[in-house]
């Protein structure tokens, strides 16, 4: 089974809501594709269309060269891990895991036993095989759901936000379990989440969705460094990209980006791309890690690439800290991340930060499309 192909997939519900709007993508053998987006963007509906729990309004879904729009879920040979795990409460763990094998038939008792034991061992739930779900913790139930997907030899593995109901602390371990499952099976996998850090950590490729549309699809670094529009730039990356309303000014042959609070010199190589936006409104995007403490910046910090902010909060992170500031004039909130720990004595003070102008993003104020990247 080579590839999963989705062409112009559309789903419209009875109340005229178009949940999935002309979405196309492919998933290659062994690829882990993540569908990510805010609630209501259509990612779960897309997944359900792939399973066969919803009917297709327009477009087609192909598994290999077989069009599966009208095929029942059980005949599509897919395995799914649900958000609330969907473990059957009246069966014990062994029976839960074996359910798919038993209902499909064609597996001997010996075979079922072996497969279930192997899956249970992989997810460290072997001692729990005789227990009922209500005696298990949330994390254990989640692993039962993974084991249940593991025993099958499906053509496509689907995950519907399986980590959202877990405590934050358990998510790291569970992510590893999911990676283990995928590496064992080496089949196409589609994973849905609203958490972009999960998407970045797990996905070979990531598809960002909003309001039923597929905004951009690519590897994590493609989405991060070359977002095609404002939404993708804002959605990918945590803390989110800082956005400022701005205009492009031309002066003495150079272009400047001017916001309410500061003015910065636009690097030469961007000039051609913004030429038709001079004196027009744009949105300037600066990622938190592209703001530097002047003394430690890897470039020269002048008045042409500085923003001043009042320091409100310092949040320690594993590699340094995140500083929450707001601009003096416009009182606009923005965030900067550093690899060092800012001492708490700076709280409340106004500090200057250098902007790495080579890494900025510019978007058309009306269409929200990126001026620098994408078509």
């Amino acid at each position: 089974m080579a590839v999963i192909q989705v062409n112009n997939l559309t789903k419209q519900f009875d109340n005229d809501k178009i949940a999935v709007n002309n979405v196309s993508f492919r998933v290659d053998e062994g690829e882990f594709l993540v569908l990510v987006g805010p609630s209501g963007c259509g990612k779960t509906t897309t997944l359900r269309l792939l399973v066969g729990l919803e009917s297709v309004s327009a477009g087609e879904i192909r598994f290999g060269d077989r069009v599966v729009n009208e095929i029942r879920p059980r005949d599509r040979n897919v395995a799914m891990v649900f958000q609330d795990y969907a473990v059957f409460p009246h069966m014990n763990v062994f029976e839960n895991i074996a359910y798919g094998l038993r209902s499909r038939g064609g597996y001997s008792r010996q075979e079922i036993r072996e497969r279930v034991d192997k899956a249970a061992k992989m997810f460290r739930i072997e001692p729990l095989l005789k227990r009922k779900p209500r005696q298990l913790s949330g994390g254990e139930r989640q692993r039962v759901a993974l084991a249940r997907a593991m025993v099958r030899d499906a053509d496509l593995y689907l995950f519907d936000e399986p980590l959202s109901n877990l405590d934050a602390q358990l998510r790291h371990g569970a992510r590893e379990d999911i990676m283990t499952l995928h590496q064992e099976k080496q089949r196409p996998a589609v994973y849905v989440t609203h958490d972009q850090s999960e998407a970045m950590a797990l996905g070979d490729r990531i598809a960002v969705m909003r309001d039923g549309f597929l905004e951009q699809i690519g590897t994590g670094s493609e989405l991060y460094n070359q977002p095609v529009n404002l939404f993708v730039a804002f959605f990918i990356g945590a803390p989110s990209i800082n956005l400022f309303d701005a205009t492009i000014e031309a002066q003495n042959g150079s272009y400047y980006v001017r916001t309410k609070d500061f003015r910065a010199l636009l690097p030469e190589r961007f000039k051609a791309k913004v030429a038709d936006h001079v004196d027009g409104r744009v949105i300037l995007g600066i990622r938190p890690e592209d703001l530097h403490v002047p003394r430690k910046a890897p470039f020269e910090v002048t008045e042409d690439n500085t923003v001043e902010g009042v320091l409100n909060e310092i949040e320690p992170t594993s590699s340094g800290c995140a500083a929450y500031l707001n601009t003096v004039e416009g009182e606009k909130d923005f965030v900067a991340t550093f690899k060092l720990r800012l001492p708490a004595s700076y709280l409340g003070q106004t500090i200057p930060l250098g902007i790495n102008m080579d890494k900025i993003h510019l978007f058309d104020a009306r269409t929200e499309k990126s001026l620098l990247y994408g078509s």
């Binding site: 609630s39 209501g40 729990l53 919803e54 009917s55 009208e70 095929i71 029942r72 879920p73 005949d75």
Partner: protein, 343 residues
């Protein structure tokens, strides 16, 4: 949400199964509606036609005689003495009786049952709640016939279910009792708590997240205020269902009113109609052969529709209030509150 999931219907085996299921369901609907259809068409037939074999699907000679007769009978403005004896009071009196008893019972039963269910669902906890719940639901297991006699005795010597009230210990005097037999209270008091509605309410109240009640407590509301201002507005669909079920059950109830009500100023419509049928039978107008052989007066009565068509009219009259109640409740049923999935 369809019976069969939408995806997969075009697959051969599934398609056949789908069509079969649809066919069976259509047949079921048809059979279900058939009696109503028959009832309505018969009410417009002449007596002769009702006895026709094979029965006709559509009145060949439509006649409004049965309707006229019943309304005359019901308003007691008919001239015929014979007809008057059949039904001592105008029909609207019986209608009034039914309404008073049913609405009165509902007015007490809905609040009482709802309070009990709310307390059991939200205010009691753990084992206590479970035992009370089982106790109340357990009463549903007792067949009505078993409790009929004790209940009857209760209405004669409320609150003692014995033929004669016991004596006050140490004296020769019996306990004072209230006699509710042959009054509307005999209908209203036993209906005061409805175990089935209790199940309905409790099931719904259980789905109300405790956090909403807790938030209201933090806001300062007393338990009754919380119930009145927050829980009840959320539960309107359930109240509608409970009211609808109870109205239907009480309006059509026959055996109990027959046992405890006698005088014509308290008999409800269901009993009154039964009395009318009895009278018809005694007057011999329900049997085709007898009817054909009877006297002139009878023939007139028959022509006037005093027979099965008349009964059909009464049947329709008995059904209409329940149907109206359904329409009213349906409005409130759809005013449901969405306790949204958290997204």
């Amino acid at each position: 949400m369809a019976l069969f999931p939408k995806v997969g219907r075009k697959q051969p085996g599934v398609r056949f199964a789908w069509y079969t299921v649809v066919a069976i369901l259509l047949l079921g609907i048809f059979l279900h509606l058939l009696p109503f259809y028959f009832m309505i068409t018969t009410s417009f037939k002449t007596t002769q036609e009702t006895f026709a074999i094979p029965p006709t699907l559509w009145p060949q000679e439509p006649s409004f005689k049965a309707w006229e007769l019943i309304f005359n009978v019901t308003t007691a403005s008919s001239s015929s003495e014979r007809i008057r004896t059949l039904l001592p009071q105008p029909m609207y009196i019986y209608f009034r009786n039914s309404m008073i008893q049913v609405l009165g019972a509902m007015a007490i039963s809905l609040p009482v049952t709802a309070f009990a269910a709310y307390a059991n669902s939200k205010l009691q906890q753990g084992r206590t709640a479970r035992w009370f719940f089982l106790f109340f639901i357990g009463t549903l297991m007792l067949p009505f016939a078993v409790t009929l006699i004790p209940s009857f005795l209760l209405t004669r010597n409320f609150p003692f279910p014995t033929p004669n009230p016991p004596l006050i210990p140490g004296t020769e005097n019996p306990f004072p009792t209230i006699r509710i037999w042959n009054t509307p209270w005999a209908i209203i008091i036993p209906a005061g708590f409805n175990a089935f509605n209790f199940l309905l309410f409790k099931g719904f109240f259980d789905t109300i997240p405790n956090s909403i009640i807790q938030a209201a407590r933090v806001d300062g509301g007393s338990e009754f205020n919380i119930f009145r201002r927050i829980v009840v507005p959320m539960s309107i669909p359930v109240f509608a269902v409970a009211a609808w079920f109870q109205f239907g059950a009480l309006w059509d109830s026959f055996l109990w009113p027959l046992v405890v009500l006698q005088s014509t100023d308290v008999i409800p419509m269901s009993v009154a109609i039964n009395n009318l049928i009895q009278a018809f039978q005694q007057a011999g107008v329900t049997n085709a052969d007898q009817a054909m052989g009877a006297s002139q007066a009878f023939q007139q009565a028959l022509d006037a529709g005093l027979s099965w068509p008349g009964l059909m009219v009464l049947g329709i009259l008995q059904t209409i209030p329940v149907f109206v109640m359904f329409i009213i409740c349906r409005e409130y049923l759809l005013k449901g509150v969405r306790l949204r999935g958290l997204k």
